[in-house]
């Protein structure tokens, strides 16, 4: 590890802690009231799930339309676990999230293996069908609370927990993408045949990337349950999956920071436009179509947004100006 890497780490960690401290303070002094705090937490969950979808769609290039299903699996697994056991809060939270992620990952493996062998567009339909199956199952099974939903989940997630969970997931994705595994995944999106011809086991990496994506979506679902304290199976429908899709497309397919910005923006827009739901959805739909026609890799494309880089650039500019 050279000095540049270490200084990068220090800068990033500092930035993360500073942002946390500011927002936490604003919540404490009620500048951010409970209502906005709630939206922030939901935005955090959106970031997690949308980032996981970006791995499958933006980086791996596979159309996945059932992430609400993976989320639901994670949410119910984590919630049922926490209800069943009696352990300290953080043990239950962490174990619950991991279990939820693992269960979602297992389902991702089960549908990924058959669907990913086929041409791309089938995965979209299979995941869509899978999401519907999960929703129907949750509505009809008795141990998940059926149509009435699952109640009595402990509230383990608040701003602090979701903030650091988001940091963890984003750090994981960045590190994963910028490794030989991430490069293999990117190469598949670019040209599957060429990837295989330079020694990338494409089927393995397609399934692997998809399972990792499902795992993270499951973790996000688990967090949702631990925040809302109640799970309604009707929420995990096709439109919910599509909302994540919109975040990914808006933020840029292949841009994690773009996903973060888009998820934050959409969480707030959703809240404000809730009363005129149909107009909101018409607007989203038009955005999707227009974006695809004029800028098919999303608003930010593959660019990553960096506060530090921005500050650096700004710093350099002022230095030059000062020198003048």
């Amino acid at each position: 590890m050279d000095k540049k890497v270490i200084s990068g780490y220090i800068k990033n960690i500092t930035a993360i802690m500073v942002v946390y401290a500011i927002v936490f303070y604003l919540i404490q002094i009620k500048v951010i009231n409970n209502y906005y705090n709630g939206i922030l937490i939901l935005a955090g969950i959106y970031i997690i799930v949308a980032a996981s979808l970006n791995l499958a769609t933006g980086y791996l290039g596979q159309l996945a339309l059932g992430h609400a299903g993976f989320m639901a699996i994670g949410a119910y697994t984590a919630a049922l676990f926490a209800i069943a056991v009696d352990l300290p809060k953080y043990v239950e939270l962490i174990a619950g999230l991991i279990l939820g992620g693992v269960m979602a990952g297992i389902f991702g493996l089960i549908i990924g293996i058959p669907a990913l062998r086929l041409r791309g567009d089938y995965l979209g339909i299979v995941t869509l069908g899978f999401g519907e199956i999960i929703r129907i199952a949750l509505l009809n099974l008795s141990f998940t609370g059926g149509a009435a939903g699952l109640k009595g989940i402990p509230r383990y997630v608040n701003f602090t927990e979701i903030y650091f969970l988001v940091v963890l997931v984003i750090a994981f994705l960045f590190a994963f993408i910028r490794s030989r595994h991430g490069r293999a995944i990117l190469s598949i999106k670019e040209d599957e045949i060429a990837a295989e011809s330079v020694g990338i086991p494409t089927t393995f990496y397609k399934v692997y990337g998809f399972v990792v994506s499902a795992f993270i979506a499951g973790v996000g679902g688990g967090a949702l349950g631990f925040y809302q304290r109640i799970l309604d199976p009707k929420k995990f429908n096709f439109m919910f999956s599509v909302e994540f899709f919109i975040i990914v497309v808006l933020g840029g397919m292949g841009s994690i920071t773009g996903t973060i910005l888009a998820a934050l923006a959409l969480a707030f827009i959703n809240e404000f436009l809730y009363s005129i739901d149909e107009l909101r959805l018409v607007f989203y739909a038009l955005t999707l179509i227009v974006l695809m026609i004029f800028k098919s890799d999303g608003l930010l494309g593959r660019k990553e947004f960096s506060l530090i880089r921005l500050l650096n650039r700004f710093g350099k500019k002022t230095k030059i100006e000062n020198a003048d």
Binding site: T57, G61, L63, L65, I111, P114, A115, R117, L118, R119, G120, D121, Y122, G124, I125, V126, L128, G129, F130, E132, I133, I136, A137, L139, N140, I193, F238, V242, F245, V249, E278, L279, L281, V282, Y284, A285, L286, T287, L288, I289, M292, I293, S296
Partner: protein, 293 residues
């Protein structure tokens, strides 16, 4: 036994509607290799056009059907021109996302225009039950549905196999650039395909609305998805496959509802999709193809 035959009749009834819708998916896929997610919503639009013709303008059923077919054909062509044509050579995933956006747009536009409340479809014909054997009955509506669907499928088969347009459609689906070199007007052929597919979807939608007595903005989603499963089951891109798949899905759905569980029937249909893709990804009548290197 009587109950079983009754279920089969009911299955053929819904199956014929699925088959009509599945044809639209399969034709469009065959020619531009696009899963047209918005096709399910075309059937919703067809049902609305039919509804207004019948309920607001009180026209006879036959005329309502024709009007709805023509309008949907225009809608289908317009969608293709505006949203899909600019993406003909774009990565597949962009076109798929556009189709998804189009589906959302149509659903919510109709919700915005006509409200989310389901509207009651007027009774087109006086419903009569015809007893065939003790315990087995078929309604005149079911007879009309099945006959109309089968008739239209035969007509489509004729168009595709025997007419010049059909020949052009087959040529374009085989190889777009070769067809162009041979003097086929590719854009026009694709437009016609969308028009025919959408017109069939309109019939499917109107029949569906009449069979279930109502129209609403999201009504196209479930039958659309099931019809897509039908198209995949039969072999996507293959016209007889869509018909076969449609009837098969209709039968499977009714039999599941009748003998296993009403609530799980939809899950069953999607389960079948996943199983088909594992064991015979090209579908029952489809051929395996590989990307050209």
């Amino acid at each position: 036994m009587a109950q079983f035959i009754q279920q089969i009749i009911n299955g053929l009834n819904v199956g014929s509607i699925y088959a009509l819708i599945a044809l639209g998916y399969t034709m469009v896929y065959g020619i531009v290799k696009l899963i047209n997610f918005a096709h399910g919503d075309i059937l919703m639009i067809g049902a609305y056009f039919g509804f207004f013709a019948l309920a607001t303008f009180n026209v006879p059923f036959g005329l309502a059907l024709v009007v709805s077919m023509i309008l949907c054909a225009l809608v289908g062509m317009t969608i293709d021109r505006l949203a899909y044509k600019p993406l003909r050579n774009a990565p597949r995933i962009s076109a798929l996302i556009t189709a998804l956006g189009m589906s959302m747009l149509l659903q919510n536009l109709f919700r915005l225009l006509f409200g989310a409340q389901p509207r009651r479809m007027p009774a087109v014909i006086e419903l009569q039950r015809i007893e065939i054997a003790p315990g087995i009955a078929i309604s005149n509506l079911a007879i009309i549905t099945i006959l109309l669907s089968v008739g239209l499928m035969l007509l489509l088969e004729f168009i595709v196999k025997k007419t010049k347009t059909g020949k052009a459609m087959r040529a374009v689906s085989e190889d777009k650039s070769a067809a162009k070199l041979m003097g086929v007007n590719v854009d026009k052929t694709i437009s016609i395909t969308f028009a025919i597919g959408s017109a069939l979807g309109a019939v499917g939608g109107l029949l569906y609305a009449i069979n279930y007595y109502q129209v609403e903005p999201y009504m196209g989603m479930m039958p659309g998805l099931k019809a897509f499963v039908a198209a995949v089951l039969g072999g996507i891109g293959v016209i007889p496959g869509a018909m076969l798949g449609g009837f098969a899905i209709g039968l499977i759905e009714t039999l599941t509802k009748g003998y296993i569980s009403t609530t799980w029937a939809d899950a069953f249909v999607f389960g079948i999709l996943i199983i088909v893709l594992i064991f015979k990804p090209a579908g029952i009548l489809g051929k395996n193809t590989r990307e050209k290197v």
